[in-house]
Structure formats: structure tokens, C-alpha cells
């Protein structure tokens, strides 16, 4: 009988078989990475806004407190996107002619609300409550990042479940004194571990079993 295959097929066929193992491994890795990629989460992707509102300017330069606009952050589940009225409190005086602010003035005139692009968007089946986090010493910065360094707002963290769980499992690594909740670029005075443990006691933060119960966030 004559040969059917060329010599090279030997090497080739071995590679295909034993290579399969590595291919599978690679695919798993690729999937896991893609799932966490910025493309998937839209992490650190500045969003276009009808008005190029700069947190950097308002927070860092003007030093306006978060709560001036996000009024209900301490009382409600939503932090509240400020009504046009809030903008006009200042901008009826400042930059009253600036063309970039025209949409705001228009909205105030017509009563048509400004349609902001949503930056932090949790799935509809996740029930996040700002007030309880803020009251238990979770800083704005912990989730939203250095807002005072963001000309246009972007999503700092992945907002994926494992990211939420990380803090719900180890609150002591993230909590800060209540008075520091709204400060940007906060540095713990002492070692975070010890401070964290103390605050968890002090603020009566629920135990991990409660924090990681499904109905804490899903209903």
C-alpha cells in the first residue's frame, strides 16, 4: 500500500490533539477577561452629555458639596439628578450668556427637562440604596471614584456583582468616618484595617451573612 499522508502530518496531527487542551484553556481565559473588560462594563468611558457638565470644575474649583445637587443621597435610594432649578440658582447670575449653558436656560424657560445620559446604570433587578451606604460610612469616592478629577463623568468601577460583593464581604476595608464620606481623595489617618473594624462596630454595619443575602439587593 502506498502512503496516504506526508511525513509532516505526524507532527501536525499531534499538535491538533494535544494543542486542543491549550486552546480550551485560552478560550476560558479569554471569556473571563472579555466579561470584565471595559467594553462590557463601559468602565472609564466618558459619556457625552447635552451640557458638558464638569464635576471637576464644580467640585474641585468651586468646592460645591455633593449634596448641594444630589439632595436625596442621604435620605433616599436615589441620589437625585438635580432639577434645572438647581443649576439656575447660580447660572441665572453666572455665565448667563454662555452658549454652552443654553440648553439649561432653554429647559428652565420651556419646562422641558434636560435629558442627561445615564453614566451609572445598574440592571433593573438590582435595588441599590444610596442613603444606607452613605449613612454607614461608604464614601462617594469608593464607588464613583475621584469625581473631582472628571471633566466629563465616567463610570469608575465595573459595577459587576463580584465588585459589589467584594465590599459587602469586607466592609472594614472600605468604610470611612461619616464626616469623610463626601470628601474626595480621602486618606485614612490610621491603618484602614483597624479603623475599618472599629467603624463597622460603631456604625453597627450588618454582619456579612446579612450583607450577602440575596434579598439585600435583589427582589
Amino acid at each position: 500500500m502506498a502512503q496516504i499522508f506526508h511525513r509532516s502530518t505526524n507532527t501536525f496531527s499531534r499538535i491538533t490533539i494535544y494543542g486542543a487542551v491549550f486552546v480550551l484553556g485560552f478560550l476560558t481565559w479569554a471569556f473571563a477577561t472579555l466579561d470584565r473588560s471595559g467594553y462590557e462594563t463601559r468602565q472609564s468611558e466618558p459619556r457625552e452629555q447635552p451640557v458638558p457638565f464638569s464635576h471637576a470644575h464644580h467640585v474641585a474649583d468651586c468646592g460645591i458639596d455633593c449634596r448641594y445637587c444630589h439632595t436625596s443621597v442621604e435620605t433616599s435610594n436615589t441620589a437625585n439628578i438635580p432639577p434645572t432649578k438647581t443649576c439656575m440658582n447660580c447660572h441665572s447670575e453666572l455665565y448667563r450668556t454662555s452658549p454652552t449653558l443654553e440648553p439649561v436656560r432653554a429647559s428652565y424657560r420651556t419646562g422641558e427637562s434636560i435629558s442627561w445620559t445615564r453614566v451609572h446604570d445598574l440592571p433593573d433587578f438590582v435595588y441599590f440604596n444610596h442613603s444606607i451606604h452613605v449613612n454607614k460610612g461608604v464614601g462617594c469616592e469608593s464607588c464613583h471614584g475621584r469625581v473631582d478629577k472628571m471633566p466629563l463623568m465616567w463610570q469608575e468601577n465595573s459595577l459587576q456583582m463580584e465588585w459589589c460583593l467584594d465590599c459587602h464581604r469586607h466592609p472594614e476595608q472600605h468604610v470611612r468616618p461619616r464626616e469623610a464620606v463626601f470628601t474626595m481623595g480621602y486618606q485614612p489617618k490610621e491603618d484602614q484595617e483597624t479603623l475599618g473594624r472599629r467603624l463597622v462596630q460603631e456604625y453597627k454595619i450588618q454582619d456579612v451573612r446579612a450583607l450577602t443575602s440575596c434579598s439585600t439587593c435583589h427582589r
Partner: protein, 182 residues
């Protein structure tokens, strides 16, 4: 074995026999004559040949055992890690580490890993896949997978001598003797 500096001109010489008995006897003869680099090709397994050619015991069982143990450990540890460490959740009031519940998957993974390592082991030990092999150059070799029985003395054998070996094989009254090109 002695390392041979020059690659022999041919792979070896091959004799074709009609029935298993003839082949077995021929193989025995060849061993007796001192040939060591022998291989026999038969359309079905013949245990006697293994004895005659003094093949070492297969290492496959060991490989499978290791594979099985690995599988078992993977199975149990995975479950333990997930239910006790990774995300401990109260399921119907059962303990986090409810080992009786883990038996099934542990068992299944043991079998799975063992079986896979058995097959890969088999291929490895047989040096497969090897679609190209010199013996296929012998035209009549196709019958090895049908009804004929072949004995091949490889050129790498210290006693190998193209002429002498062929004569020797002829002396075993085969149907035919052929040279096996590389």
C-alpha cells in the same frame, strides 16, 4: 541501545505470513536468533506475541490511577470551595459542608479524568497519531488490517544485515519478504 551515527538506508525487512501460528513461531525464531528490534503486525490482538517479544508491562494503569485521583480531588475541593469558602449560602437549612451531597460529582469527575487520561495515555504510549509510517510503504501491508500477519526486523537492530536478515526471514517460509523503505 547503541546510538548509530549513520541512518540506515532502509527501515527494515518485513515478512508476511498466512496465519497467526506461523507468525508467532517466526517471531520466536527471530528472538532466538538474537534479533531484538522486532515488530509484528496482526489484524487482531495476539497475547502470545507480547510474551514472545518480551514486551514490558504497560504503564497505562498508573497513568489512569493518577488521572482518577486528580479528578476526585478536583471534584471534591471545587464543591467544598464554592459552598464553604467562595460564597457560603444557607440552602434549605443544610450545613455549608454537606459532604454526602458532594459524593456524586466527586465520583463523576474521578471517572471522567481517569477515562480521558486512559485515552490520551494510550495514544501517547503508542506514539499515535502517526498517519505516516515507513511500514505503509510496503504495498501488501494493507492486508495487515485484514487477514495477513507480518514480522518486521528493523534496520536499527545491531544484528541487522540487509542480506542475512532477508535470508533468515525467507527461511521461515513466509508468503513473501519485502524491504521497508523509510
Amino acid at each position: 541501545m547503541r546510538v548509530r551515527s549513520v541512518r540506515p538506508p532502509i527501515y527494515g525487512v518485513m515478512a508476511e505470513f498466512n496465519n497467526p501460528t506461523a507468525l508467532v513461531n517466526a517471531a520466536r525464531e527471530a528472538r532466538a536468533r538474537g534479533y531484538r528490534r522486532l515488530d509484528a503486525y496482526t489484524p487482531f490482538p495476539i497475547e502470545e506475541l507480547a510474551e514472545v517479544l518480551h514486551l514490558p508491562k504497560s504503564k497505562l494503569p498508573l497513568i489512569v490511577l493518577i488521572g482518577g485521583i486528580l479528578g476526585g480531588l478536583t471534584g471534591y475541593l471545587m464543591q467544598y470551595y464554592v459552598t464553604v469558602i467562595y460564597f457560603p449560602i444557607n440552602i434549605g437549612g443544610r450545613p455549608l459542608h454537606s459532604w454526602p451531597m458532594y459524593i456524586v460529582i466527586t465520583f463523576e469527575l474521578t471517572i471522567l479524568f481517569a477515562a480521558i487520561s486512559a485515552v490520551l495515555g494510550l495514544l501517547g504510549l503508542c506514539g499515535l497519531p502517526m498517519p505516516y509510517h515507513p511500514v505503509f510503504n510496503v504495498p501488501r501491508f494493507a492486508r495487515a488490517s485484514r487477514s495477513r500477519f507480518f514480522l518486521c526486523i528493523q534496520a536499527t537492530d545491531p544484528l541487522f544485515d540487509r542480506k542475512a536478515t532477508e535470508d533468515f526471514l525467507e527461511s521461515l517460509e513466509p508468503r513473501e519478504v519485502a524491504e521497508v523503505a523509510h
